[in-house]
């Protein structure tokens, strides 16, 4: 049964169409990655699923119900500014429980339990400013997981981490996914990250955003990018992604010049620029 179902979805900002006729179903318990060039509306789609924005046309259902606002079983996590600087780690994790009406004491008790499960209990009394980037994202995950969400939406959650931390956190995400059995949708502009994590990758076209390719990745975890199945998917997605990035980054004349100089040789460069830039 699909956990998330999107049909005929359009989202306009004034005269600008951010998302155009999106039809997509996301299976319960799956880990789906949205990949696409900057400005393709993938973040907008995530916020629409989270109920933080409303579609101009079309509908979204989660667990069979229309999304009309933020849902108790759906939590969104961002790249930055997840944790509230003015609350301790413990109170950050307790935040959602307090909103749900638990007493301060009970909320803190459960928050500490959750922090113990993820090995962060000794940081309970710290403030976010005292934590490393990776730890902050782990606390943000703990804050979501303590609410036992069915759907976890993540917008570039590892985007501001250094390369090594990012790799470790990718493995961590997979373990979180397995334990929580939540349906995860992850926005990333890093194709390799999507390949390492997702069992399905949805590739978005440049503005207006629309899914142009959906690739299932049947490989088991832990994965190696050298895996034949992954390489095949990577080649297919990379070609698509490069075209979309080139279309957003370059004007017609520049594209012609690119083609003349041999698009093949500029492939790595274009892709590298896309994955280093900000979303």
């Amino acid at each position: 049964m699909p956990e998330i179902s999107i049909s005929g979805l359009c989202r306009d900002f004034g005269h600008h169409r951010a998302l155009d006729r999106v039809d997509l179903t996301i299976e319960s318990g799956s880990l789906t990655a949205f990949v696409g060039p900057t400005g393709c509306g993938k973040t907008t789609l995530l916020e629409l699923i989270a109920g933080l924005q409303h579609p101009t046309r079309g509908r979204i259902t989660v667990d069979g119900e229309d999304v009309v606002g933020p849902r108790r079983d759906t939590i969104l996590i961002f790249q930055d500014h997840n944790l509230f600087d003015w609350l301790t780690v413990c109170d950050n994790v307790a935040f959602g429980l307090r909103v749900r009406g638990l007493s301060k004491r009970e909320a803190r008790r459960r928050a500490i339990e959750q922090l113990e499960r993820v090995g962060l209990a000794s940081f309970a009394d710290r403030v976010p400013g005292e934590l490393s980037g990776g730890m902050r994202q782990r606390v943000a995950l703990a804050r979501a997981l303590v609410l036992a969400p069915k759907v976890l939406l993540m917008d570039e959650p590892l985007g501001s981490l250094d390369h090594q931390t990012r790799r470790i956190m990718q493995r961590y995400l997979v373990s979180v996914w397995r334990q929580s059995q939540a349906t995860i949708v992850l926005v990333t502009h890093d194709l390799d990250e999507a390949l390492r994590l997702a069992d399905r990758i949805v590739l978005f076209s440049a503005s207006p955003g629309r899914p142009i390719d959906v690739v299932d990745i049947p490989a088991p975890h832990p994965r190696s990018l050298e895996d034949g199945r992954l390489r095949q998917a990577r080649d297919r997605l990379l070609t698509h992604l490069e075209e979309e990035v080139a279309l957003t980054e370059f004007a017609g004349a520049e594209l012609a010049a690119l083609a003349e100089s041999g698009f093949e040789s500029s492939v790595v460069k274009v892709h590298g620029g896309a994955s280093d830039g900000s979303a």
Partner: protein, 261 residues
Amino acid sequence: MGGLIAAWIVLGGAWEVGARLGVLNPAILPPPSQFIPYLFATSGSVGLGVNKVSYAAALAATVVRVGIGFGLGVGAGLIVGTLLSALPWARVIGVPIAQILAPIAPIAWIPLAIVLFGTGDGAAVFVVFMGIAASMTLAVVAALGGVPGEYVKSARSLGSTGWRLWLRVILPAAAPGVATAVRLSFFAAWMSVLAGEMAGINSGLGSLVILGQQEFQMKLVMAGLVTIGLLGFGFDRLLLLIRRRLLWWESRGARAVGADA
């Protein structure tokens, strides 16, 4: 703190030495060794009859005026700024009004203040209030507008709504920016009250300094100047202390600010 004490000693010492060596004319710039004993000997009284002003009474008047005006101005700025941020339709007209009022120099309100309230406390409080309320309102609107969208979205995604969202997330997120504006407002308030007292409101520290000048009582002028400096400095430190208490999380961790001491 050590550096500050040393700075006062260096400044005072240079003044003393300059006066003794005759580099600074002690008739115009009497050093601390002259004006401090003078204050104790005369209790800083100047003028005659109904115009007689004492140092202690002047000091008290100024502190009360700036305290009330600053409190009202900051309070109004917080309330109006928050309302304007929360109500988009009010912002359309409210922010331009504040933008029109904010650049009017506090001193320009003095004639109106005296006509409205006479030459006493009311006028001084009015001048301080008008000097800071509009700019404080704009600063609050800016601080609230500068709250990262992710905070609000995270909180809403976790289920927070309505006034709780404001109280628990938006206001704390804006607090550092607001605290900086409060501190800057104090400087404006302090200047406003003294300017008012020098230009028509006939009591308080500013008035005392002007009287001293008119009667060429330079020891009183210097005592007044040093008092104004010390008090202003003291209040600023107090505000900084309050900020550190209220925004306790700022002084912890790598992203700590407050290094602007």
